[in-house]
């Protein structure tokens, strides 16, 4: 079978028929995820991006909060996945001109802007860049460094080809220079290229144009653009990054010295009711600032960091701990104050900031560098986008969506993904991408698989008779490794190792180009083992295994030597020792690789049914979306009615009717022939594995086994039952949900309330529940406004720690404030005190709290006290987690596989999550996530088979003494007895085996090796690690 090369798949206008299923417009992380999910689910996707490469804003970030993963390192494998996906055509440097037609049949005209470089010929060798005489500000590095008039946008770009900057190229301006044309050996440069019009027909469009960062230059009030040492947070992100302007040295612009004293200013361009500012909260800045503080301290432990902030909005999963981590670092100050820029000191170019605190009044302080935590704007040209795609915008200039479905635009067939819906973080962008995938699937299910192609690999070479021939590929990872480890030295060293026949280095081994080069080298040099010495298998092993397959080798002949996380990153200051350690690591890998064996993966059939656990809004939404795409879905609810927590909600902050929505959803669920609902149901047992689960459900006295291929866990959350503030002791102390029920029900108890106090953060943001429950601030504002609607004279006091009305909710917070709701901040060390007038548990209450602004204690007579009680994990969460073998977070919510990029997947394959079981969230967020989970489940269910790892245990029957040690060790039930002519022997079902290898270490006779990690393979690595002494045996 001939290999279908990557090049042949890449976009070629002439050869392509211009017919697809979906067009994803915008190639940032959200567009990428939407394209991948849709393509995997059987649709042909065009991924259109106006920049010269896919990647979007995430590609510019250094790290991502709250895990501080390297942003490019987790995103770039997805570039390559897109590039290699047989169902994705990537069109970069391309603008959409017109969109005609309707859902199911859109004619889209595009203009492919001239790169002046032929994409199909350029190899990305960079020779032209070296020769180009014109230096231009490097946009990827925010103009903080220079690149050339012809250059590659960034090293991991897809496609990895150059483009010419029209504005600066001497030839394009004055026909003066064409040096690049001459030096290009491949004749790839064509300075006469013209824009190309392309017409494509698709059934649906996913709109993911992202956002633009707020430009503080426009208002000029923070000195940005005038004072050199005032930078934006995105500028600073580049400064911190190892691929940034100073290769990861965080130097300040004026004198290229390490700043020792840095200030951050929050809410620049956000939460501002001034011309040119945005009234909303940008939702991500608090946490990214904390990330930058932590990273700055990592770069230089002596640096002093000062954060000037308003409310700290650490409302996301694990954000509160992240905030504490930043705050508790030495030399870090968080100061709650509005600020203004004082002046630039002429000699030092330092910048002064004026601020005020309650203790000290107004002060002016000097800093080496000031970072503006800028907010998010609608994408550039949002009006134009809206006009072209025929979608409406909201008053902020973001895309208008259905109040109960943030993925639906005003135009049928055009779905929304990512930050064009308003300021959101990466996980929400990824969730809505998967959700857009599911909604597109609902629309286009009839044509699923019709245009899709499978990936075809060349036949695997049989290397059994060959001596090991190892190729070692060493990666500089930009400067990540190369700056510390002497890579050329390690290349030479590798060539001297036993069995090594080839060794080479590369700047980014993971780039499409380099990976393709590896598969060619495998063939040319007849390699039968490959060692890549680079980063981590966690992100990049699938890519390199794939590369081996393309080179005609079994993928298990690959070994990863991690010389970044295990070496250069931890020994940055000991370069010689790091190089020596890199040699050790490579030597160990090479030794192990010689013993590697080709393994077969198992194709398991996929049962096309899905199980959804939890009949709240999340579960119902997922179930309907799955059923609408033709998958039989079993919906399990423990209560007697569907609806979950939403049954207690009556209206949203935006004023929409929740009960009507829920009633409609319940009706749709019950009416759908493919949704099978069990109420009063409990799960008693879960067996099986991805694609083939059997779940035993007991409902209304009957027990049944449900066979399904995927499961979505949407078990919801509970409201915390307070034990504080006289709750349960006094009839006038209630929770927000109870208040909402009373408001909606027109309860008489509210009629005589003249003064009402709300207390925020009841039962969370404290040591035993160290998280923010996210929804309570919005809930308090919502209920306050409702109360004011009914009785404008009611005195309402909200005692809060930080008002976390992130995103557009900020405007409702402001509205509440203007309508007279009094917001009074308290410190956790000095919580409000609620006292009853008498001991009858009735009558008026008295609330005392310290007012930090007035500097005195306030005493409020309250007719009612409303507690914003935390959202806590639902009672059965742990039990469900145990049954489905999935993890929970330290706070007891379900733990996703990766907080940023796999937000609705569990690490356990075939199981997905959504709703408040993941973390507290608002209704619209729950709905997006429910579609997201359905979309992810469909990437599995739309296939007939799923592949299981070849790295499983296997019994060598001759050595098995039938002691049963392995069977008792295996909690997956993967090992059972089997009668053989030689008697009873243990036998592994490879499909059930998860490859943990516990049985291997329990077996007294070594009869049950874990393939790919056998005793021999591990021991030879140990021998290679410590070669100084000859082993005993």
């Amino acid at each position: 079978m001939e290999k279908e090369t990557v090049k042949a798949q890449s976009f070629n206008i002439a050869a392509d028929d211009g017919l697809g299923d979906v067009m994803v417009v915008g190639g940032g992380i959200s567009g990428i995820q939407a394209a991948l999910d849709l393509a995997t689910a059987g649709f042909k996707v065009y991924l259109v991006e106006r920049a010269p490469t896919i990647g979007g804003k995430m590609a510019q970030l250094d790290k991502t909060f709250p895990t501080n993963d390297c942003s490019m390192c987790i995103e770039s494998p997805k570039f390559i996945e897109c590039d290699r996906h047989p169902n994705i055509e990537i069109l970069t440097y391309t603008e959409v001109d017109t969109v005609e037609g309707e859902a199911g049949n859109f004619d889209v005209t595009l203009t492919k802007k001239p790169r002046y470089v032929r994409e199909d010929v350029c190899t990305g060798c960079n020779t032209c860049v070296e020769y180009c005489p014109i230096k231009v500000p490097d946009r990827y590095n925010q103009g903080l460094s220079e690149s050339k008039a012809i250059h590659i946008h960034f090293s991991q770009a897809v496609p990895l080809v150059t483009y010419v900057d029209e504005e600066h190229c001497l030839y394009l301006k004055d026909k003066k220079c064409n040096i690049c044309v001459g030096v290009c050996k491949n004749k790839a440069i064509d300075l006469h290229q013209k824009p190309e019009r392309v017409k494509i027909n698709v059934g649906a469009i996913v709109l993911s144009p992202g956002y633009e960062v707020f430009d503080p230059r426009l208002r000029g009030d923070y000195g940005y653009g005038q004072i050199e040492n005032v930078v934006t947070s995105l500028d600073y992100e580049r400064l911190l990054c190892s691929t940034g302007p100073f290769e990861g040295e965080a130097l300040r612009p004026s004198d290229k010295k390490h700043p020792k004293n840095i200030a951050w200013i929050h809410c620049v361009g956000s939460r501002q009711v001034i011309p040119g500012g945005n009234t909303y909260c940008s939702a991500v800045c608090c946490s990214y600032t904390q990330k930058q503080v932590i990273l700055s301290k990592d770069h230089d432990p002596d640096v002093k960091a000062t954060v000037f902030h308003n409310d700290i909005r650490s409302y996301g999963k694990d954000f509160e701990r992240f905030y504490q981590r930043a705050e508790n670092l030495p030399g870090v100050r968080f100061i709650r104050s509005y600020v203004s820029i004082g002046k630039e000191i002429p000699d030092t170019k330092n910048v002064t900031i004026r601020y005020a605190t309650n203790e000290d009044g107004v002060k002016e302080e000097e800093f080496d560098l000031v970072v503006l935590s800028v907010g998010m704007n609608p994408p550039t040209g949002a009006q134009d986008i809206a006009a072209k795609f025929g979608v409406e915008l909201d008053s902020y200039g973001f895309c208008k969506t259905d109040p109960f479905n943030p993925i639906l635009t005003s135009r049928p067939g055009v779905f929304l993904s990512g930050a064009f819906n308003g300021p959101v973080d990466i996980p929400e962008s990824v969730v809505t991408a998967s959700g857009a995938g599911s909604l597109t699937g609902e629309l286009l299910n009839y044509r699923r698989g019709k245009l899709a192609r499978d990936r075809i690999y060349p036949t695997e070479r049989d290397v059994e008779e060959e001596e090991p021939k190892v190729g070692v590929f060493l990666c500089h990872c930009g400067a990540n490794i190369g700056r510390v480890v002497d890579i050329p030295d390690v290349v030479d060293y590798s060539l001297g190792l036993e069995n090594v026949v080839h060794a080479e280095e590369g700047l980014f081994i993971c780039s499409t180009d380099a990976a393709q080069q590896i598969s060619e080298t495998i063939r040319e040099k007849g390699l039968n083992r490959v060692v890549v010495a680079a980063c981590t298998p966690r992100t990049h092993e699938p890519l390199f295994r794939d590369t081996l397959r393309e080179g005609g080798l079994n993928q298990y002949f690959f070994d990863f030597a991690n010389i970044r996380e295990h070496c250069s990153w931890v020994h940055a200051r000991e370069k010689e020792e790091a190089t020596s350690k890199a040699k050790d690591i490579v030597r160990m890998s090479v030794a192990r690789s010689a013993l590697l064996e080709p393994l077969e993966e198992y194709d398991l059939p996929v049962n096309k049914a899905a199980l959804v656990v939890g009949g709240g809004v999340a579960g119902m939404t997922s179930a309907l979306s799955l059923a609408n795409q033709g998958f039989e879905t079993y919906l399990i609810e423990k209560d007697s009615d569907l609806g979950g927590m939403a049954r207690r909600l009556h209206y949203t902050l935006e004023g929409d009717d929740v009960q009507a929505y829920v009633a409609d959803l319940v009706r749709k669920v019950y009416r759908h022939p493919s949704v099978h609902v069990s109420t009063d149901a409990t799960i008693t047992h879960v067996a099986g594995y991805v694609g083939n689960f059997v779940t035993t459900v007991r409902a209304q006295g009957r027990t049944k086994d449900i066979e399904h291929g995927a499961a979505i866990l949407a078990t919801g959350a509970d409201e915390y039952k307070p034990t504080e503030y006289l709750y349960h002791e006094h009839e006038r102390v209630i929770t927000q949900l109870e208040l909402e029920e009373r408001i909606a029900g027109g309860d008489e108890s509210l009629d005589d309330v003249e003064s009402l106090v709300m207390i925020q953060c009841v039962g969370c943001r404290q040591p035993d529940k160290n998280y923010c429950a996210r929804v309570c601030c919005g809930q308090a504002v919502k209920n306050s406004l409702k109360l004011k609607d009914a009785n404008p004279d009611m005195a309402i006091y909200v005692l809060f720690r930080d008002m976390r009305t992130y995103g557009f909710a900020e405007n409702y917070y402001r509205e509440a404030s203007t309508r007279g709701v009094k917001f009074i901040r308290y410190e956790p060390s000095d919580k409000p005190v609620v006292e009853a007038a008498g001991d009858s548990g009735q009558g008026a209450l008295s609330v005392t709290a310290a007012d930090p602004i007035l500097g005195k204690r306030l005493a409020i007579d309250a007719d009612m006290v409303v507690l914003s009680a935390a959202v806590v994990p639902a009672a059965g969460t742990q039990e469900v987690a145990r049954q489905f073998k999935v993890a929970t977070s330290p706070d007891g919510f379900f733990q996703e596989a990766h907080v940023k990029l796999r937000p609705v997947d569990f690490a356990a394959e075939g199981v997905f999550l959504c709703g408040t079981a993941h973390y507290p969230k608002h209704l619209s967020e729950t709905i997006s996530q429910a579609y997201g989970a359905a979309g992810r489940a469909i990437t599995l269910l739309s296939h007939d088979t799923v592949t299981a790892s070849g790295s499983v245990c296997e019994v060598n029957e001759a050595d098995c003494v039938a002691c049963g040690a392995c069977i008792s060790a295996c909690t997956y039930g993967a090992i059972e007895w089997r009668e053989t002519p030689q008697g009873r022997k243990a036998h592994v079902n490879p499909v059930l085996c998860k490859g943990d290898g516990l049985c291997n270490s329990k077996c007294p006779t070594g009869a049950i090796p874990l393939k790919h990690y056998t005793d021999e393979e591990v021991l030879c690595q140990i021998d290679a690690a410590l070669p100084a002494l000859v082993p005993v045996s």
């Binding site: 145990r882 040690a965 943990d996 140990i1022 005993v1032």
Partner: protein, 212 residues
């Protein structure tokens, strides 16, 4: 691969190859990424291995097990620095213990040979019913455990060492006990047992024991 996959042979091979310390890092108890909770098995392995090291005169603190999650980079670095300092204090393997390199190697091989047996003993007698770190630590620090070990493993370990030593040539009880730094009475007792089992024989002429 789970921490529970760490085999006694891996640890012993590292020491045999001259490692001065061996570190095992595993997922926090209760946070198993599989559902095997093999980290408890790693905890058993660590205790058993330390016990075995103690028997052959190797400082048990040369083996260290810590629970670490992927988000605990700083803690990991601190632990490794601390472990490294601790190993420096203990000195080179063997030197710190005052054990001759050849003898040390022999002793480690004696333990390695016993691995299949130790696995059986572990399964039969060293399982802790309750999965809690405290229970495990209490059990492995208990007198009962010491008694169990003395009873089931100690003798076998002595014989294993003697047999390896006798491969070099016949030796007297005294020579054996001096070479292996073992109690002469214990050596004598084990020689008698081994003699009865036909593993060794007494050479009257040489007044020494030799392999049978």
């Amino acid at each position: 691969m789970c921490t529970g996959r760490v085999d006694l042979s891996f640890v012993l091979r590292a020491f045999s190859n001259g490692a001065d310390g061996v570190f095992i890092g595993g997922c926090w108890l209760g946070e198993c990424h599989y559902l095997t909770e093999g980290n408890y098995d790693a905890l058993s392995l660590m205790h058993i291995c330390k016990k075995l090291l103690g028997y052959i005169g190797v400082e048990p603190d040369r083996l260290r097990l810590e629970w670490l999650s992927s988000s605990e980079g700083i803690r990991f670095a601190d632990i490794m620095n601390d472990f490294s300092a601790q190993i420096r204090r203990l000195g080179r393997l063997g030197e710190g213990e005052g054990l001759d390199a050849d003898v040390l190697r022999l002793k480690l091989e004696a333990v390695t040979q016993l691995i299949p047996y130790v696995k059986l003993v572990e399964r039969e007698r060293l399982r802790v019913p309750l999965k809690s770190e405290e229970e495990y630590n209490t059990f492995f620090a208990s007198d009962e455990l010491t008694r169990l070990f003395d009873e089931s493993v100690a003798g076998k370990l002595t014989i294993s060492q003697i047999m390896l030593l006798l491969r070099e040539g016949p030796l007297s009880t005294r020579e054996i006990s001096e070479a292996l730094r073992l109690d002469p009475a214990e050596v004598s007792r084990q020689l008698n047992t081994s003699s009865r089992q036909g593993l060794v024989r007494y050479d009257e002429g040489l007044r020494s024991y030799a392999l049978a």
